[in-house]
Amino acid sequence: MNLTSIIFLLLSLMAVGSSLMMISSKSPVHSVLWLIVVFFAISGHYILLNAQFLAIVNIIVYAGAIMVLFLFVVMLMNLNAETEPIKNYRLQLVGIVAGGTLLLIIIYAVMKIDVENLVEMKVGDAGLIKNLGMNLFKNYVLPFEISSVLFLSAMIGAVVIGKKDELSK
């Protein structure tokens, strides 16, 4: 077992364990913090795959911006373990069984197929910023520009939804 496999296993264990902690912790603030750990583990996977741009963007956008927004909303609503709604124990069991069955079935199906393709680790220039930027601005300029319109509409939508309703007064 070489170093790459050991790092892969460590990062995978970190991601899976932290995501299990995320869905099982009572306090929403702890859930947010565990999800940040999951995102860092996934960024580690990106670095292992030599997708450096995506690793940095994942940390900046997900672990930085989006999770701070989640944390902000959780703290704005003053949620903690006492205010946490508790689901019926039987319904929780049904959810775990359903999700676990899906996981087992798809893993079984994946093990049956005979793909022996290898993933390029640590080398390769597909994920470097230069190649991604050239590809983005050569072939994907139109989606890139449309995404700015998407951001504008999301911004306006968030402001309109979050605004206090003056008609109801």
Binding site: H45, Y62, F70, V73, G95, I107, V119, G127, N139
Partner: protein
């Protein structure tokens, strides 16, 4: 590294996200589980892109290998927009019913 290892890892993360959506009742945590599922798919897409980069098919044109990573970039863009609107909706819901329990929204009336 075998591609199956990445498929199984992404599937595990995705299924944990599904279990979280089914098990929890807090709207914010359900939303976070959706983010986790998006990230699992992103990881699988990057792994497939690197798998593709190894094949002879893409040796001629290096743009093909980075296409999947462009898609991941756009998924992140859409996720950022989606989170801002979704959290605004959750804040709106909290202002109306003073809870984030999704079971309070099981009827359209009132």
């Amino acid at each position: 590294m075998d591609i199956k290892a990445y498929i199984i890892l992404a599937l595990t993360l995705f299924s944990i996200g599904i279990i979280g959506v089914l098990v929890r009742r807090n709207a914010i945590i359900i939303f976070m589980c959706v983010e986790l599922m998006l990230n699992a798919v992103n990881l699988l897409l990057v792994a497939f892109s690197k798998m593709h980069a190894m094949s002879n098919f893409t040796k001629a044109s290096p743009d093909f290998a980075s296409d999947a990573q462009i898609f991941v970039f756009f998924i992140m863009v859409v996720a950022a927009a989606e989170v801002s609107v979704g959290l605004a909706i959750i804040v709106m819901m909290y202002r109306n019913v003073h809870t984030v329990d999704v079971n309070f929204l099981n009827r359209l009336k009132n």
